[in-house]
């Protein structure tokens, strides 16, 4: 019954940012088909986020982008992919 270890233990070092501060990340958008789809953002450092919000133009499988947004520690999701990154603005980059 008792469980050991921290939540997320073993994942690559994750740097939590204060709830209200924006962060800018460069990476690739990836679509997951779990039924209802989930969108993942994989950064150059190898960190993984679940993307929500922002302009629908960002939500295309495989595109490279620089995303500005913030981590929403107060949310959970059905896709359940990792920390939730709420997008404020993004800029697509050439592949």
């Amino acid at each position: 019954m008792r469980k050991k270890g921290r939540v997320g233990a073993g994942t690559k070092a994750f740097r939590p940012s204060p709830l209200l501060f924006k962060m800018t990340l460069r990476g690739i958008v990836k679509l997951h088909q779990f039924g209802p789809r989930g969108w993942e953002f994989i950064t150059e450092d190898g960190d993984h986020y679940e993307l929500i919000g922002g302009d629908p133009g960002l939500y295309r499988d495989g595109i490279r982008a620089v995303v500005t947004g913030r981590i929403r520690e107060d949310l959970m999701s059905a896709a359940n992919l990792g920390p939730i990154l709420e997008v404020d603005t993004f800029k697509q980059e050439e592949n």
Binding site: K3, V7, A9, M76, P83
Partner: protein, 592 residues
């Protein structure tokens, strides 16, 4: 002379008690058409042919796989019972024969008539046909905390909703929509309806697909919006709502990266109220279990594909409790989990969809938990223990991080209550030491209060201690005698403390039988035996022993008593009240 009569009556009662324990192993021996003869492994066919010729029977290999094991069978038609008996004895005496036994015809399992059931590989993977033979979850309420469920014809400013066709016969209790704050938690995403379908899709109704616990009632609780996102406060409130409104199982096919104190408190509250919580491990595909699956009060579920190995998307880690089918559509869409739901963000449509995810794995576990609960297991820790103990253990390296206790097996889980299979072997002292000490302590207290030791003669003294021991800790020393057959069974039942006989006789492992754990039997014994000289001492010892057993159950055990409503305080009052009453009875009856 009269004492002898009582001794005989006592023996008869003891025998009656032990009879149900002997099982009915021989039942149906005559219904078998064939007899299996297992020879020593790798016995050459010529040797087997020789034996067959010697006894004039036709021995056939059971299947192509039987040759190395030398497993054969023959038809017993035409043989009288006496002839068969002689033949079996002769065969058993052959040096090359390992054993013979009747080849029972096993009845084929019930298979639902839902036309798409064939495509639900995930139901067979967890052995649902075997489980449906015993339970369908009737009487259990399962809360689905998700995007809602497509369960009613309803229209609001946001859209038009309907009940999907294969939830037609499924029962619902009132839920709540925490997104719109109303009592219409309809699904506008598709995720929640799919999850609900796995738990309690209308089954054997001639349309669509099947669900695990189709007799259970669903409580729709909407906390995720149409994009499948929701906030911690709503999720925590939904958990509390479910616990307060009679849910016995909560399915949480959702999660996040960060633990939440609010949710942890809500889950601890639900757990205290006897709710079994089941959570999806997460779909990160990496080590690190999401929250709330990693919470100790939740059964964290990872996902496997049709081949039974961890699905590539499934999160894993030390907090995984169980694995269940979540599908793997990377190997073809039909390797997903198939249920009826609405189109994605389209509540007006009705579809059968193959989904994948730990979200799909969790409801298989939640449904199976409902099946186990419907058989009378109340305590969520007990439910979890049963699900884990009956799971198929993986031989894979690091298997416990990927699969926890193993892959869910619903048929084994609902069979767990069969005491003939899972009765714990009687142990010697350790487990019963506290009962024994309590019995001795109470006897000492009793003699102090009575200020005398009224057992001067040998026989009454022996009977007093036998009674005390039997009712408090059981006559554990009989385990030391290597007995077998009916004698062993009778001795085995004596080795148990009398109140614990409720388990083999009554078949429930999760809670105590209130009659066996009451002053009923002491009263009966005292009333019938008090007028005798020696046996009254047995009744006295028994009454004190039972009082001590109930005291230990009151203060040193967390097991609840069946049929007693409310929280565990009433159960404790029952045990304590009966213990004190028994002690008082013994005190009165002990007057010289």
């Amino acid at each position: 002379m009269r004492y002898n009569l009582y001794v005989i009556a006592g023996c008869l009662v003891g025998l009656l008690l032990s009879l149900p324990l002997t099982g009915m192993a021989q039942e149906g021996a005559d219904t078998a058409e064939e007899v299996v003869v297992n020879f020593k492994d790798h016995l050459p066919p010529e040797e087997i042919e020789k034996i067959a010729h010697k006894y004039g029977i036709h021995l056939a290999y059971n299947s192509v796989f039987s040759k190395p094991e030398a497993l054969t069978r023959f038809s017993k038609s035409g043989l009288s019972p006496e002839e068969l008996q002689r033949l079996l004895q002769a065969l058993a005496a052959e040096g090359t024969v390992e054993y013979t036994e009747p080849n029972y015809l096993y009845q084929a399992y019930w298979v639902p008539n839902d036309p798409l059931y064939d495509k639900q590989w995930h139901m067979r993977q967890i052995d649902m046909p075997g489980a449906w033979e015993k339970a369908n979850g009737k009487g259990v309420i399962v809360a689905v905390i998700d995007t809602g469920i497509a369960y009613e014809e309803y229209q609001d400013r946001k859209g038009v909703y309907h009940r999907v066709q294969d939830l037609a016969n499924t029962q619902f209790v009132e839920g709540y929509d925490f997104i719109d704050d109303d009592t219409h938690p309809n699904d506008d995403n598709g995720h929640g309806t799919h999850v609900a379908g796995t738990i309690a899709q209308s089954t054997n109704n001639g349309i669509g697909v099947a669900g695990v616990a189709y007799g259970a009632q669903l409580m729709p609780l909407k906390v995720l919006n149409r994009f499948g996102i929701g906030n911690l406060a709503d999720i925590a409130e939904a958990i509390t709502y479910a616990a307060d409104h009679g849910a016995q199982v909560i399915n949480l096919s959702l999660g996040g990266f960060f633990p939440s104190k609010t949710i942890r408190e809500a889950m601890a509250y639900a757990h205290r109220k006897g709710v079994t919580l089941v959570c999806a491990a997460g779909n990160s595909g990496r080590r690190g279990v999401s929250y709330p699956a990693s919470d100790p009060h939740c059964i964290g579920v990872s996902a496997v594909g049709p081949d039974g190995t961890l699905a590539p998307y499934s999160s894993y880690g030390p907090q995984i409790d169980l694995a269940a089918p979540g599908g793997d559509t990377s190997k073809g869409v039909m390797n997903g989990v198939l249920q009826n739901t609405i189109g994605f963000m389209d509540p007006g449509t009705d579809r059968y969809e193959y989904f994948q995810g730990t979200s799909m794995a969790a409801p298989h576990v939640a449904g199976t938990a409902a099946l186990v609960i419907s058989l009378g297991v109340k305590n969520p820790d007990e439910v979890e223990k049963i699900l884990k103990a009956t799971a198929r253990v993986s031989a894979e390296k690091n298997g416990n991080e990927k699969y926890g206790a193993g892959l869910l097996n619903a048929a084994a889980a609902v069979s767990f209550l069969r005491p003939d299979i899972f009765a714990p072997p009687p142990t010697l002292l350790p487990g019963r030491l506290k009962y024994l000490l309590a019995g001795l302590l109470l006897a000492w207290l009793y003699f102090r209060l009575r200020r005398e030791f009224p057992l001067t003669r040998k026989l009454p003294r022996l009977l007093f201690w036998l009674g005390l021991l039997w009712a408090s800790s059981g006559l554990f020393f009989v385990d030391l005698f290597p007995l077998s057959g009916i004698l062993g069974h009778s001795a085995g039942s004596l080795a148990r403390a009398f109140p614990d006989l409720d388990y083999p006789l009554w078949g429930r492992i999760s809670d105590l039988n209130p009659l066996f754990h009451s002053a009923l039997f002491p009263v009966l014994l005292l009333v019938t035996l008090l007028s005798t000289k020696s046996m009254s001492r047995f009744a006295l010892g028994f009454t004190l022993g039972l009082a001590s057993h109930l005291l230990v159950d009151t203060f040193l055990s967390s097991v609840s008593v069946a049929y007693i409503p409310g929280d565990f305080i009433l159960d404790k009052l029952w045990l304590l009240g009966n213990a004190l009453f028994s002690f008082w009875l013994a005190y009165l009856a002990g007057k010289p």
